[in-house]
């Protein structure tokens, strides 16, 4: 729908972005793929040899990999459940005609803007410290023993922190979806005598189903690569209790200096992320059509 001249200009203007992103994606990825077939340690970088798929063998058969995979899934799954279910509840509550709705909204969305290192450290120290943390004081006040969160419940602690960061995101997006729910439809349902529970399951839930899917997929992308929260709280420990795949690859690369092994792990992470990505792209792609 334009002249040849504008079409050519269009191609030229889109080119820098495409080229930059292409290089950004393909060069490192190709290098990762290449490195993953090498025995290559930064401590012994003169001694590099081709080992084909051996790194994958080591990485995948490493018990740490299996536990990292489980940890990743547990972390992603728990945070998803907490933030989506919590998000629906918070959004439903905020969608009511409450006083000062916009102020409540500001409070609810706030944690999303907090940088991961800050939220992790604030939770770890100010709130979860077993001696002087606020949670310990609350436990004592209720006559309960204080919980040593990061020693006894390391994974749960990380899940709580990350959930706190993502609950606002889910709430905000689901609230936006709820607010587009047709007021007349609500009134019609009330006139039809629909109770609150059937009303939610038959009308509200289908209406926000798409938003929920988007929340799940986008969160999954980010949650698969949670890193900073683990680095500053547990450093993957105790043992490997909170080491997810992202953190395992980081350890392999920058702490063990094993380029080959880390690269193989990186490729595994890419494959995992791509499985999720394919679903996300389908959804967003459908949105492009409409």
């Amino acid at each position: 729908m334009a002249t040849q001249q504008t079409r050519v200009a269009g191609r030229l203007l889109v080119a820098p972005s495409v080229i930059l992103l292409f290089l950004w994606m393909i060069v490192p990825l190709a290098m990762t793929l290449y490195f993953s077939t090498l025995r290559y340690s930064l401590l012994d970088s003169d001694n590099v040899s081709f080992v084909f798929l051996q790194n994958y063998g080591y990485f995948l058969s490493d018990p740490n990999f299996f536990s990292a995979l489980v940890n990743t899934l547990v972390l992603v799954g728990s945070v998803l459940v907490i933030s989506v279910v919590g998000g629906i509840l918070v959004a439903l509550l905020m969608d009511q005609p409450i006083f000062g709705q916009s102020f409540v909204r500001l409070m609810v969305i706030a944690p999303f803007f907090v940088m991961p290192t800050v939220s992790a450290l604030v939770w770890k120290n100010l709130l979860m410290n077993p001696v002087s943390g606020l949670f310990a004081w609350i436990a004592h006040s209720l006559g309960l023993p204080a919980i040593d969160w990061f020693t006894n419940w390391p994974m749960l602690s990380v899940i709580l922190i990350v959930s706190w960061q993502w609950l606002p995101f889910a709430s905000l997006i689901l609230l936006t979806a709820l607010q587009s729910f047709d007021e007349e439809q609500k009134e019609a349902a009330t006139l039809d005598g629909a109770g609150a529970i059937p009303f939610f399951f038959y009308l509200v839930l289908p209406h926000i189903a798409r938003a929920i899917t988007v929340v799940i997929l986008i969160e999954t992308i980010f949650l698969l690569s949670v890193f900073a929260e683990i680095l500053v709280t547990t450093a993957g420990g105790p043992g490997v209790a909170t080491t997810n795949i992202a953190f395992l690859v980081y350890k392999q690369a920058l702490l063990n200096f094993d380029v080959g092994g880390a690269s193989a792990g990186g490729i595994v992470a890419v494959v995992l992320a791509n499985i999720v990505a394919i679903f996300l792209m389908r959804i967003v792609g459908k949105n492009l059509e409409s």
Binding site: M1, A9, G10, P16, S17, V18, L20, L21, W24, M25, L29, M31, V90, L93, Q96, F99, G100, V104, R105, M107, I109, A110, P111, F113, M115, P116, T117, V118, L121, V122, W123, L126, S132, W137, W164, L172, R210, V215, I218, I221, L224, S225, F227, A228, L231, V232, A246, V249, Y250, A253, A262, S263, G266, I267, A269, A273, A277, L280, V284, N287
Partner: protein, 276 residues
């Protein structure tokens, strides 16, 4: 439903919403309060909520102890700078995709989105080695480039969805009026899309400011932004809660305020236009 709701129910709902909101917000508030305590008050059991000796000395000390301003400067320069460069590349690209789409435009957009989905660890090793060899580790240019590439797909996507809402007639009118392509983008498209461009920029700044994978892995001191600075408090010897709180407050306050202003656009940006 709204009409029939009784006042009592409304008050009850409001109270519940305020309570939930307060609980969610509480860790931030607590950090803010703690930042004005002495280190002793910060550790006090039972905790002191409001009645403590308020002091601002933590803020002074954060700067003198750790050169806070350098990290803050890096955060600002990196998140603003990278995204200004990003906008300069993204605006023409989004113009092209929105107004001169080809058969492949949708595929290109989807592909750009897919680059966002590549986990950092997948390319950590080569990026680290390349940066090491090109002396880009702990270098503003280096980390700035990474942040630019992280946000470029989001910038293009958001701008694209905003530009799509501008009628192409107006750009054609400008063409008829003798505007060159450059003039068309600068005098007609950009002013019309200012609200969209501003919220795009805002979201991108927020994301860059809080980016904590690459900044932690590729910077140490000279080019390190606040994410890395705060991470240095994770060392056991750095456990001064009041100072940690002061530093944290400083690190999150600007972006929290920006975020509050842009929350509506945020939904659209973060869902790539799938939820508006």
């Amino acid at each position: 439903m709204a009409l029939k709701q009784s006042m009592g129910k409304r008050v009850g709902m409001s109270a519940a919403a305020w309570l939930i909101g307060f609980l969610i917000f509480f860790p931030i508030l607590w950090t803010f309060l703690t930042s004005f305590k002495s280190e002793l008050d910060a550790f006090a059991i039972p905790p002191k909520f409001l009645f403590f000796h308020w002091t601002a000395e933590n803020y002074a000390e954060v700067q003198s102890r750790s050169n806070y301003l350098l990290f803050a400067y890096n955060s600002i320069v990196l998140s603003v700078g990278a995204n200004i460069v990003g906008l300069i590349i993204a605006v023409p690209a989004a113009w092209s995709m929105a107004f001169v789409p080809t058969k492949r435009t949708k595929d290109v957009l989807m592909w750009m989105l897919s680059t966002k989905m590549m986990p950092g660890v997948g390319v950590l090793v080569p990026i680290y080695l390349l940066f090491r060899d090109f002396h880009l580790l702990d270098n503003r240019l280096g980390i700035g480039f990474v942040l630019l590439m992280m946000n470029l797909p989001i910038l293009i996507w958001m701008l694209y969805t905003y530009f799509k809402e501008i009628p192409v007639d107006i750009l054609e009118a400008a063409r008829m009026d003798g505007a060159s392509l450059m003039n068309e983008i600068v005098y007609v498209l950009t002013p019309m899309a200012i609200p969209g461009i501003a919220s795009t920029m805002l979201l991108a700044v927020i994301l860059s400011w809080n980016e904590a994978f690459w900044t932690l892995n590729l910077t140490t001191s000279n080019a390190a932004p606040l994410t890395a600075f705060i991470a240095s408090y994770s060392a056991p010897e750095g456990l001064f809660w009041a100072k940690l709180s002061a530093a944290s407050t400083l690190a999150i306050a600007p972006i929290l305020i920006l975020g509050w202003f842009s929350q509506k656009q945020l939904v659209r940006g973060l869902t790539f236009g799938a939820v508006k």
